[in-house]
């Protein structure tokens, strides 16, 4: 019914490997997006964020998002990883590499991928502050 495609990982994301994945002789522009656990001023000292996912569906939905991008920008090469589990402050929770013959396509594919990932991937996060934990309010979700 579904296969783990490896879009999710519970280990630190190897950014250099993602860039190598999308490299090719026909590439003129490569755009890498990194989403990072941010220390927010109003929130007090967030120490880390724990990401949980509906894993089978997140793999399927991220696969659909990547397929949509590949259909829309046929020349693009795409790599994507989203962390699950505890992500310390400053480490990327998501990394997306998009390479294309021309930079406009690489930027457009990159932006599409992160916006759709944030809108659709069934992933949740819980902030761990000093001594407490709370769910972060997200977006409604949906295709």
């Amino acid at each position: 019914m579904w296969a783990m495609s490896g879009w999710l990982t519970d280990r630190p994301i190897d950014v250099a490997a993602l860039l190598a994945d999308v490299a090719s002789a026909g590439t003129g522009g490569t755009v890498l997006f990194l989403g990072t656990v941010r220390r927010s001023e109003d929130d007090g000292p967030v120490e880390s964020i724990e990401y949980s996912a509906y894993e089978e569906m997140a793999e399927a939905e991220l696969g659909r998002i990547v397929d949509e991008a590949r259909t829309q920008w046929p020349g693009a090469r795409i790599a994507l990883r989203h962390r699950t589990g505890l992500v310390p402050l400053g480490e990327p929770s998501v990394a997306i590499a998009a390479a294309a013959p021309h930079r406009a396509e690489a930027y457009a594919a990159s932006r599409f991928l992160i916006e759709e990932t944030k809108r659709r991937a069934p992933i949740w996060k819980k902030e761990r502050l000093a001594g407490e934990a709370r769910w972060v309010e997200g977006r409604p979700g949906g295709g």
Partner: protein, 94 residues
């Protein structure tokens, strides 16, 4: 709302579906999966209506996102015996 597992247990023409809960919903409900028997012809909205009878479900928004078999689905999407129905809290990935 719970019941003996296994297909066909809902009686003639009925279906059984598996409900999955996540994140804040699972925490509020105190569990992350349940089984539900529904009449034939049931749709996603019927699952939501049944779940709303539980006390924790006061926290559900008016139209929570629902997925059937790993895909987002509309409230009027038809259910089949053995389907996995997930109630998806507001997502916060990225």
């Amino acid at each position: 709302m719970t019941g003996a597992a296994g297909r066909g247990a809902a009686g003639a023409g009925g279906i059984r579906v598996r409900i999955r809960l996540f994140a804040s919903y699972a925490e509020a409900a105190g569990r992350d999966a349940l089984e539900m028997a529904l009449p034939a012809g049931a749709v996603a909205a019927d699952v939501l209506a049944a779940v709303r009878r539980e006390p924790w479900a006061a926290r559900l928004p008016p139209s929570p996102a629902v997925a059937i078999n790993l895909r987002y689905a509309k409230p009027d999407a038809a259910l089949a015996d053995g389907d996995e129905v997930a109630i998806i809290p507001p997502v916060a990935g990225g």
